[in-house]
C-alpha cells in the first residue's frame, strides 16, 4: 500500500469571481521512505498540491488516500487530527509563534494532540536538530537557519508519517540552505518520508525523485538512481 495516493485530483478556486483551476487532474503515489521534490514555475499548482497533501485544503474533485484512508470526505476535526499526528509541516517563512520560546513552539503540536511529557519530548526534538541549548530563546533571538531547525523540530516532534516542506530554504543564504538540506537528507536516510516543494534545482538535487508541475498537471516524474547524489556537508 502506498503512503499517498492522488487520483485525478482537481482544485478550482474562485478568486474575485474568476475561476482559477490550480490543479487539473493530478495522479501520483508516494511510498513510505521516499524523498520527493516537487518542482515547477510559480502558479503551476505545486503549492496547492502540497496544501492538499497536508490536509490544509480539500480537492474539488478526485480522491486523496493517506495511508489507505480517503481523506477528501473527512470532517474538519479529523483533518486536524491527521495534521497533528501524521503530518509535519515546514514553511518557507518558518512560521514560528513569535511570543513563544523555541521549546514552546515545538510543544505546540503536542498540545493539540493532547500528549503528555511535552517539555521533555520538545527538548529531545530540539536536541535532534542541535538546538538544545537554544530552547529558551525567542524566535527573534535566533538566526534564520536556527528558526528553520526549530520548525523542523516542531514538525518532527509528533513522529509523523510524512514531512511536508514548502520552500524550506527559500529565505536562507546558500550556506545555511546547505545546512538545512543536510538535515533533510539525514532525516531521509533515517527512513522519514519527505515531500519538498522548491524551484531551486540545487535543493531538488538532494531528492531521489523529482516531480515537475506545469499548469496544474504533472509533466515529468523522474527517479534518480542511487538517490540523493550529494554528500552530507
Amino acid at each position: 500500500m502506498s503512503l499517498i495516493e492522488l487520483e485525478d485530483v482537481e482544485k478550482v478556486y474562485r478568486m474575485d469571481g474568476v475561476e482559477v483551476r490550480a490543479l487539473r487532474g493530478v495522479t501520483m503515489t508516494v511510498d513510505p521512505g521516499e524523498f520527493v521534490a516537487i518542482m515547477g514555475p510559480s502558479g503551476s499548482g505545486k503549492s496547492t498540491c502540497l496544501h492538499i497533501l497536508g490536509c490544509l485544503d480539500r480537492p474539488t474533485a478526485g480522491t486523496y488516500r493517506l495511508e489507505g484512508v480517503d481523506v477528501s470526505t473527512l470532517p474538519d476535526a479529523e483533518l486536524a487530527r491527521l495534521r497533528s499526528r501524521r503530518l509535519g509541516f515546514v514553511f518557507q517563512s518558518y512560521n514560528l509563534l513569535p511570543r513563544l520560546p523555541a521549546v514552546e513552539n515545538v510543544e505546540l503540536p503536542m498540545i493539540y494532540a493532547g500528549v503528555p511529557d511535552r517539555r521533555a519530548r520538545a527538548l529531545a526534538a530540539l536536541e535532534a536538530v542541535g538546538l538544545r541549548e537554544r530552547a529558551r530563546h525567542l524566535p527573534t533571538q535566533l538566526s534564520g537557519g536556527e528558526q528553520q531547525r526549530v520548525a523542523f523540530a516542531r514538525a518532527l516532534v509528533m513522529s509523523p508519517a510524512i514531512i511536508l516542506a514548502d520552500e524550506p530554504t527559500g529565505n536562507l543564504d546558500s550556506a545555511t540552505a546547505r545546512e538545512i538540506m543536510g538535515l533533510v537528507q539525514r532525516l531521509s536516510r533515517q527512513g522519514m518520508t519527505i515531500i519538498l516543494v522548491t524551484h531551486d534545482a540545487e535543493v531538488a538535487s538532494y531528492a531521489r525523485r523529482i516531480i515537475q508541475f506545469r499548469d496544474g498537471r504533472v509533466v515529468r516524474d523522474t527517479t534518480v538512481r542511487g538517490g540523493g547524489g550529494r554528500p552530507t556537508p
Binding site: D57, A77, A80, R81, S84, N95, L96, L97, R99, I111
Partner: protein, 403 residues
C-alpha cells in the same frame, strides 16, 4: 486541549499587551465596581432607615389630618378637623391602646440672646416620650400640669441645643419663640437623622401652649397611637378609623378626612423607595457593564485580525476549529473575569470610602457581588463569542498567507 493550557495561552496573549488589556478591562472594572458600590450604598441606606423606623416603636399608628399618600399626590392642605379631643376619645374608647399623643408642629424662629435658629416647634402632649420612644436625657418633659396651664416651657432637641448654647447646659435658660419667652426644662436624647430629616432639630412645647399662645389654632396635625401588640394593630386601626368617622360626622359617601399609617406601612414605603433606587442605580451600572463588554468585543476583533497568521500556524500543526474557538473565548472571559475581580475590589473599597468620607451607611451584599461577577462572566462569553467564531472559521491557508 485542556482548560489549564487554554488559560495559560490566553493569559500569555493578555500579558503580551498589558496596557491594552488593562484599558479593555477598565470598562468591566468600572461596570462591576459601580454595580457593587451602588447596590452597597442603596442597601446601606435602606438598612439604616429601616433600623431608625423600627426604633420609633413598632406598634405605632399615626393619624394624619387630611389625605396623604406615599409616592402619590398629597392632598393635605390645612385640614382642621383633627383635634386633641379626638386623641382623648381614642385613648378612652379604642381597646388595646396603651398610649396616645397628639402633635401640632410648625417651623419657627428660636432665639437665645444673640443666637437664633429656625427649627420645628412641636406642640405635644405629656405622653409623647412613651408613645414615640423619644425621651429627655436631662431635665424633665412636659407634664399634665404644663398642658393645663399652657405653660411656657420648652424641651430642646440636641441640634437646637447645640446651635443655641454650644456646649453649655440649656436647662433653666430662657429662649424666645415668636417673641414669647419660654423656660427650657429639658434636653432630649439624640435620635439622629432619618435620610435628610434631622430628628434632633426640634423644640417640644406643650400642645396647648403651641395652639393658643404661639400659632392660634385649635386643631392638631397628627395623633400617635400606641397599640398593645402587633396582633392588635389591624383591629385598632379599624376602630380608630370608625371612631374618627363617627366623631367627624362623615356620611357613608364621604371620604376620610384623615389618614392612618402604621409603622409597617411606613417601613414598606421606605423600603419600596429604596429598592427602586437600588434597582435604578444598579441598572445604570449594568449599562456600563454592557459598554465594557463592547470594549472587549472590539479588542478581541482587533486581536483576531492581528493574530490571523498565528491562527493559521496553530491550525497547520493540528488545532481544531474547536480549539481556536475555545482559546479566544477563554481569552475574552479571562479579560472580563479579571476585570470583574478588580471591579469587586474597587467597588468594595469605594463603598468603604463613601462610608468614611460622606458618612453614609453602606452594606456590601454578597448577592450583588455575585450578580455583578456573573454578569461580567456573561459579558465575556457573549461579547467574546463572535470574535472567537471569526477566528475559528478562518481558512488555514488564507491565514498562513496573511501578512
Amino acid at each position: 486541549m485542556n482548560v489549564v493550557v487554554s488559560i495559560r495561552i490566553a493569559w500569555r496573549a493578555i500579558a503580551a499587551n498589558p496596557l491594552r488589556s488593562l484599558l479593555t478591562m477598565l470598562g468591566v472594572i468600572i461596570g462591576v465596581a459601580s454595580v457593587v458600590a451602588m447596590v452597597a450604598i442603596g442597601q446601606g441606606a435602606r438598612h439604616a432607615v429601616t433600623q431608625q423606623v423600627e426604633a420609633l416603636g413598632s406598634n405605632l399608628l399615626t393619624v394624619f389630618a387630611g389625605v396623604q399618600r406615599f409616592g402619590g399626590v398629597a392632598t393635605a392642605g390645612p385640614v382642621r378637623t383633627l383635634t386633641l379631643a379626638d386623641a382623648e376619645a381614642i385613648a378612652r374608647e379604642v381597646p388595646n391602646v396603651t398610649g396616645v399623643s397628639a402633635e401640632f408642629s410648625r417651623q419657627a424662629q428660636v432665639v437665645f440672646r444673640e443666637q437664633n435658629t429656625s427649627t420645628q416647634i412641636s406642640g405635644v402632649t405629656p405622653q409623647f416620650p412613651a408613645v414615640r420612644n423619644f425621651h429627655p436625657v436631662a431635665g424633665s418633659f412636659i407634664t399634665e400640669d404644663d398642658m393645663r396651664r399652657r405653660a411656657r416651657v420648652a424641651v430642646l432637641g440636641q441640634t437646637v441645643a447645640r446651635q443655641l448654647f454650644g456646649d453649655g447646659d440649656p436647662v433653666g435658660q430662657q429662649v424666645k419663640i415668636r417673641g414669647v419667652t419660654f423656660t427650657v426644662i429639658g434636653l432630649m436624647e439624640s435620635k439622629g437623622a432619618t435620610g435628610f430629616f434631622d430628628r434632633d432639630d426640634v423644640v417640644f412645647v406643650p400642645l396647648s401652649t403651641a395652639q393658643r399662645r404661639l400659632f392660634g389654632v385649635d386643631y392638631v396635625r397628627s395623633i400617635y397611637v400606641q397599640v398593645a401588640s402587633s396582633e392588635a394593630m389591624e383591629a385598632a386601626q379599624n376602630d380608630v378609623a370608625a371612631l374618627l368617622r363617627q366623631r367627624h360626622r362623615l356620611g357613608p359617601a364621604q371620604e376620610d378626612d384623615f389618614t392612618i399609617r402604621s409603622q409597617a406601612d411606613v417601613l414598606q414605603a421606605i423600603t419600596g423607595v429604596s429598592r427602586t433606587m437600588t434597582l435604578l442605580l444598579g441598572g445604570i451600572a449594568a449599562v456600563s457593564l454592557i459598554v465594557g463588554g463592547i470594549g472587549i468585543m472590539n479588542i478581541m476583533l482587533v486581536s483576531v485580525t492581528e493574530r490571523t497568521r498565528e491562527i493559521g500556524i496553530r491550525k497547520a500543526v493540528g488545532a481544531r476549529t474547536q480549539d481556536i474557538l475555545t482559546q479566544f473565548l477563554v481569552e475574552s472571559v479571562l479579560l472580563s473575569v479579571s476585570g470583574g475581580l478588580v471591579g469587586i475590589l474597587v467597588g468594595a473599597l469605594g463603598s468603604r470610602l463613601v462610608t468614611q468620607l460622606a458618612g453614609w451607611a453602606t452594606l456590601l451584599s454578597p448577592q450583588a457581588v455575585l450578580l455583578a461577577f456573573s454578569f461580567a462572566v456573561a459579558v465575556g462569553v457573549f461579547f467574546g463569542l463572535y470574535p472567537a467564531q471569526r477566528a475559528a472559521r478562518l481558512d488555514p491557508i488564507e491565514a498562513l498567507r496573511y501578512e
